[in-house]
């Protein structure tokens, strides 16, 4: 009898508890947000960009987006274009739905806004004026003609000191160059990649002029186009 009344009491209180749930917060049941309505920068960055651009925008295999110099170098319109349409011919995908990606324009804007808020710093260049983000075209281009010969010399003078020796010479390897765009090279040379130790255009060996940057990229670019890469033979003897 004692047992029965105890159990009954227990059940009754549980029932009361259940009745009280009407007042539990409704957040109890998380509302499902369709993926195209997510506009939180961190959520967007972490699902779409983190793998290549690194957690928090740096230390990833691709460009260090959290570098304040890079953020200062590139304007919103350019970012919007790159993120929306990708960088054709490279592994940077197009994200805008209009270009076959999965992000809405609002989401692309949210990413840009978030990057600015989190990663921009006021005046990262101090006194210096960096070369333009893109290689100038039109009238400006005349003052900055690309000179492959000169580029090669500049490369020897400014880059080879660090990029020499076995593996680091890869920068001039056609295989590497086949995978990276001129623009990416240019961005790296100008803004640097502080996360992996690549200096910006003002490194120890002296500051590079806009003309120098253009020539170095032209030199590297010439190595890419001049050498054909053929597929290595796949050895049939391989066990797997």
């Amino acid at each position: 009898m004692r047992l029965r009344s105890t159990v009954a009491g227990g059940l009754l209180s549980l029932a009361l508890l259940a009745a009280g749930c009407g007042r539990l917060p409704v957040e109890q049941t998380e509302r499902y947000v369709p993926p195209d309505q997510v506009t939180d920068f961190h959520a967007l960055y972490n699902t779409n960009c983190r793998a290549c651009h690194g957690p928090a925008g740096e230390n990833g295999p691709a460009m260090d987006l959290a570098n304040p110099e890079y953020q200062a170098l590139v304007d919103d319109a350019t970012l919007r274009r790159i993120i929306s349409n990708g960088m054709p011919g490279t592994q940077m995908p197009a994200w805008a739905q209009s270009a076959g990606g999965m992000l809405t324009d609002a989401q692309v804007n949210a990413i840009i806004e978030g990057m600015r808020k989190e990663w921009s710093k006021p005046n990262p260049f101090q006194e210096a004026t960096p070369p333009a983000y893109e290689q100038p075209s039109g009238a400006d281009a005349k003052t900055q003609t690309a000179d492959v010969k000169q580029g090669q010399q500049l490369y020897q003078a400014h880059c080879a000191s660090c990029h020499s020796g076995h593996a680091r010479q890869e920068l001039t390897s056609p295989i590497y160059l086949a995978l990276i765009s001129d623009q990416a090279l240019r961005s790296i040379i100008i803004a640097g990649r502080p996360d992996i130790g690549q200096p910006d255009w003002r490194h120890d060996n002296g500051q590079l002029s806009p003309q120098d940057v253009t020539s170095i990229v032209a030199y590297l670019s010439s190595l890419r186009t001049n050498t054909a890469i053929s597929a290595p033979p796949v050895p049939l003897s391989s066990r797997r």
Partner: protein, 500 residues
């Protein structure tokens, strides 16, 4: 007061005069059962019945709001979740009630099996019970489809996939089930009809028959090792047990049923409160591919088995196994209708149940974390650990980018993140030489897609350069010197060890 009592009595008598139900009810309640059946082991059947009633009640409440059309089903569930007071709780009760019911029905069946309760004269009770089990599963399955979200699609997808394997009529069956060639509004109407009219109707009538037989044939006595069941003598022995040492069913055995059923309903309520309702998850929009849908709990094991079956075995297993299983269950009381009831002397029965329980547990566990299905977001969300990109070379970093961009990560883990369809690649460099990697990436094999056509030669080289750096810091990569000499060709970089 006495006057009211008198009136009530008059009404009761008027009704009883015509219905004449008092006698049978009293008989049923007070009939004698063997003392040994008043056991906590004998409470699962009544709990299953209680859950069935709970499902009926909550189901009716849900049907007041739910709208079984493709356009509105999903929305009406959200209305229930967020706009109707306690709507979410009713949904949660119904969803958890369903899980509990499936579980209790299974437990009930195992108990009946282990106690030999299916033996003479209760063969038909068992057979009806098998159908009750199938219908309970049918309810769980059709109910999940009514949610009409992405998980529902998945569950249905599996069902359809199994059906489409039926020789000759597979296509027609699928068409019949879905009300068309694919999942659509017509599918939903069909499943609504099944879930709300057809199966519950059958389920309730079968349950009545089942209970009727339990009442008529008596509750199975506690099995004693050595007391064998024989057609000629069983009834006499049972009658002696229940009359000489019997107790009235109510309250003698019934109070345990009541308490247990109450506890189960309370457990459902607690789960409903704590875990909330099921979904609805993502809208069933096939263009949203960033999801990893999963069927509901009772079907996870099927999901797992399907994923592990080698392709050649799929059709035979899918088509033959369920038929064999059901036929086996139905045949059981005819094959073993007499003899020993006690589990102490039926080692094979005990082993079978344990084996099935363990296998089910393992497959369900595997089902909850789906190692085989690619992680759709891994390629763009799972970071390459900094130690691989930090001190790497430019080509290795490009390789890492290719690795992500070509979605290798969706199937391959690095440092515990990524898909698990293929092997983790943390130490792949200690297992494979660069040529073997190249070969594997280009030609695939064994569930690894062949990437040959989708990768440029430069991409392959970069990938291999990256894969070569994947080894524990203190272990050397597999170094195939002879092959390495010959594979340094037209200007490709010198060997990259990545451990500079």
């Amino acid at each position: 007061m006495p006057r009211m009592k008198r009136d009530a009595k008059t009404v009761y008598n008027w009704l009883e005069r015509r219905l004449q139900i008092e006698g049978p009810v009293k008989d049923a309640a007070l009939h004698k059962v063997p003392r040994s059946t008043a056991s906590w082991w004998y409470v699962f059947g009544s709990a299953a019945f209680t859950l069935l009633l709970l499902q009926v009640v909550t189901g009716i409440l849900l049907a007041l709001v739910y709208s079984p059309t493709a356009a509105n089903a999903w929305n009406s569930l959200n209305v229930l979740n967020h706009q109707i007071p306690l709507g979410w709780f009713i949904r949660a009760l119904h969803g958890w009630g369903s899980n509990f019911m499936v579980a209790i029905v299974f437990i009930h069946m195992c108990q009946v099996f282990l106690f030999g309760a299916y033996k003479f004269p209760r063969e038909l009770t068992w057979i009806v019970g098998v159908f009750l089990l199938l219908m309970t599963l049918g309810m769980a399955f059709t109910g999940q489809v009514l949610r009409f979200d992405q998980d529902a699609y998945w569950g249905l997808g599996i069902g359809v996939f199994m059906m489409s394997r039926v020789p000759l009529i597979g296509g027609a069956l699928v068409h019949f089930l879905l009300g068309g060639p694919n999942i659509s509004g017509a599918t939903l109407s069909r499943f609504f009809t099944l879930h709300v009219f057809v199966i519950p109707g059958l389920l309730l009538s079968f349950a009545m028959v089942h209970v009727w037989m339990v009442l008529k044939l008596g509750i199975n006595e506690w099995p004693m090792p050595g007391r064998l069941v024989r057609r000629e003598t069983y009834i006499a022995i049972y009658n002696r047990l229940s009359h000489e040492d019997g107790i009235p069913f109510v309250p003698g055995a019934f109070w345990k049923d009541l308490i247990f059923s109450g506890a189960i309903v309370a457990a459902v309520a607690v789960c409903a409160m704590v875990f909330g309702p099921y979904g609805p998850g993502g809208m069933p929009n096939p263009s949203i591919i960033q999801t990893t849908p999963k069927p509901d709990f009772p079907f996870l094991w099927i999901f797992a088995i399907l994923a592990y079956l080698p392709p050649a075995l799929e059709t035979p297993v899918i088509l033959v196994a369920p038929i064999l299983a059901i036929a086996g269950l139905l045949a059981l009381p005819f094959v073993a209708g007499e003899g020993e009831k006690s589990w102490h002397r039926r080692p094979i029965a005990v082993l079978t149940v344990s084996f099935i329980a363990v296998a089910w547990g393992v497959f369900t566990h595997l089902g909850t974390y789906t190692p085989w299905s690619p992680h759709m977001n891994a390629w763009s969300s799972d970071a390459i650990p900094a130690r691989y990109t930090h001190s790497a070379t430019p080509l290795v970093r490009e390789g890492a980018v290719v690795f992500q961009a070509k979605q290798c990560r969706n199937c391959h883990e690095i440092e515990g993140v990524g898909g698990q369809r293929g092997p983790a690649l943390d130490d792949v460099a200690t297992r494979m030489t660069p040529d073997e990697m190249r070969y594997k990436v280009v030609t695939g094999g064994g569930n690894m897609p062949a990437f040959g056509k989708n990768l440029s030669p430069a991409e392959v080289e970069a990938l291999v350069a990256f894969l070569e750096t994947l080894h524990p810091a203190n272990e050397r990569p597999a170094y195939d010197g002879a092959l390495r000499e010959t594979s340094t060709h037209n200007g490709s970089p010198p060997p990259v060890t990545g451990s500079k």
